[in-house]
């Protein structure tokens, strides 16, 4: 069987022309990416396997990391936040936020460093370049799944049961995915050119954490201008609020969600275009 397909391919070899691309593209070719989906799958597998290679506890770390974070925040903040001010148990409120946040922060950082971190791979194989940041973001989904599983276990413990709104959680996750994908596509070629990106990003992500309602509600005092830039235009606010609305039934986000949608669209568009435009230079600049 397999021999036959091999012979068939040999009889009609595809002709590929290699040359300087005349018309420069603005977007990657989706059919080409779709054909490489097996490669994407194995890139993700490789990332996940490599992440826990040579750790004694292996995959346990994925569970332990969000668990430890939730433990620390519950201990630190439960004194200030009373369950009635949030309307839901603080632990659940924080778990939902942390699950999503670990995914966002991890995939932005891994995605931005994905090209620089895969030099031998990029200089030796001709795999579709966008697959590299995409796979980094996909590999971080493991953390999200573990975080959600943790949330479900804890919520049953607190006697909070699934509602119909759970069905909308995947949509929020998809939105988060597109947002970080856009950021990864935008930042990864930028880091190839300016390694400074990799140095700065941890601080920026840290700052973003403190400005977003991940584990606590950031104080809203300050000038109007500061509020506008730090809270109203922060795409993470809409994301986290929608996620909590779907899982816990907190207040329905409206304007924040619109900000997130617009921001995600803009970042995804900019990232895709920037990545495609700089793609052909990548290998030479690495």
């Amino acid at each position: 069987m397999a021999l036959d397909t091999a012979t068939l391919e040999r009889q009609a070899p595809q002709v590929q022309i290699i040359g300087r691309r005349k018309a420069r593209r603005w977007f990657p070719s989706l059919p080409e990416l779709w054909r490489s989906r097996t490669i994407l799958y194995y890139l993700v597998v490789r990332d996940i396997k490599a992440r826990y290679a040579q750790t004694v506890l292996g995959a346990f770390w994925t569970v332990f990391q969000p668990l430890a974070m939730i433990g620390v925040f519950t201990y630190a903040f439960s004194r200030f936040f009373h369950d009635d001010s949030l309307g839901v148990p603080y632990t659940l409120w924080a778990t939902a936020g942390i699950a999503l946040w670990i995914f966002v922060s991890r995939s932005v950082m891994q995605g931005a460093g994905s090209l620089v971190g895969n030099v031998p791979f990029l200089t030796r194989t001709a795999v579709q370049r966008p697959l590299i940041p995409i796979s980094a973001v996909c590999a971080s989904c493991v953390d999200l799944l573990v975080g959600i599983a943790l949330f479900l276990v804890l919520s049953l413990g607190y006697g909070v049961y699934p509602t119909w709104r759970y069905l909308l959680a995947p949509a929020v996750v998809a939105l988060a995915f597109l947002l970080v994908l856009g950021l990864a596509l935008l930042l990864s070629p930028l880091e190839v050119r300016f390694r400074d990106v990799g140095r700065t990003l941890p601080f920026v992500v840290q700052l973003w954490f403190f400005l977003s309602p991940v584990a606590y509600v950031p104080p809203t005092s300050g000038s109007e201008l500061a509020r506008l830039f730090l809270t109203d235009l922060n795409p993470a606010v809409g994301l986290l609020e929608s996620f909590r609305w779907a899982l816990l039934g907190t207040a329905v986000p409206t304007s924040d969600l619109i900000v997130t949608l617009v921001f995600t669209g803009a970042v995804l568009l900019a990232g895709t275009v920037y990545f495609t435009r700089s793609e052909r230079m990548l290998v030479d600049e690495l």
Binding site: A2, R10, G19, T125, V283
Partner: protein, 429 residues
Amino acid sequence: MGEPAIIAEGLGKRYRPWIGLKPMSTTEHLAATRQRLLRRPGPWRRRDIWALRDVSFDIPRGEILGVLGRNGAGKSTLLSVLAGITEPTEGFASIHGRVTALIGVGTGFHDELTGRENVLLSGVFLGMSRAEVARKFDAIVDFAEVDEFIDIPVKRYSTGMRARLAFSVAAHIEPDILLVDEVLSVGDPEFQEKCHARMTSMAAKGLTGMFVTHDRTAVGRLCKRALLLEHGRVVFFGAADEAVAASMEKQAQDAGGKEAALDEGEGPSREAPAVRFADVRIANTNGGPALLPHQPFEVHVGLEAAEPVPGYSLGVQLVINDDKSRSLAGLSSWLDPSNPLHQLREVGRTSLVCEVGELPVRAGRYSLALRLFHDGDLVDEVSDLEFEVGATDFFGAGFEPPESFPPLLVSHRWRLREPTPAPSDQGAG
């Protein structure tokens, strides 16, 4: 026959590295951009380097083309362009069929993962389906001879083992076109032989190959035709044995009258390494060429730097091989604590002498390979500098050890153990 597999027309690849000073910080990048836009001269300059220029050739299906050339001649760049890894600056190539490229040791191997995982991953990345890899897995591992190590991370593999596994994966993909960079040179001779045999048998089934190597005899045996690259240009394209002869001639020029070769090769497209060997020569302590075993001799090494570089960034490595390409000894400037390179603040043109204490080998032909490192990167190489060691009666036995005897001469003496055991004890022991 006749049906083409690869046709390349005027391929060129330009790199534009910064020379001397390069913008390091973001503000410097902005300043350099401004300087370029305003066409003002400034401290940051780029230089055009053509790693490939005007490369045209064709390979009919079922033929293996050898690619010869010194380091930095553009061989790897050519393979990268044909493999679709990097885009050519000019020209085009048409590739008829599925291409697999084996560039560098372990294509897509991940250090932390085991051999088993890497075979699967690299097979998929090179274009196989999962089922295909699973079916061929045993054959791949058998061919690479790494059965016992298949479940340990590849970072614990030797370079040779990685190269064997990588070649084995690529060889089992059954591509239409296989591009092989110098990866095989790190394997042992037996494995290289096996790989060559595999390529020949694949070629008989219609595989087209391109084979970059320093091993001229392999080109002679495997390839009908060969391409000789120098400074990114094709200097010879034709029958393999003629190409081998042409490359030998080039090398003789390089090793002997390097200056002459330099002037000839000077051109806009030359890919000049920062430092290179200017001339290399072996001499006995009297300055003559004849060497005797266990007698000191000297290796004279001339270095030449395009722009002065600090001496501590340089290292010279010498490897002495016998006529069967077995490495006998390694010498290195790093191994000498009083190495004069460390005292030199700037190296422009320098002549070094390596005083070799003694070479305990029997009469025969040997060769010397020299490698020059700059900041840890291999920047120049002179291989197969042959020399002859004359016969002496080293052991005082009145005759030389036979040809089949190992090459090292180690002085030794035989005696009877004291006290001599009594004849009656012999049966008991």
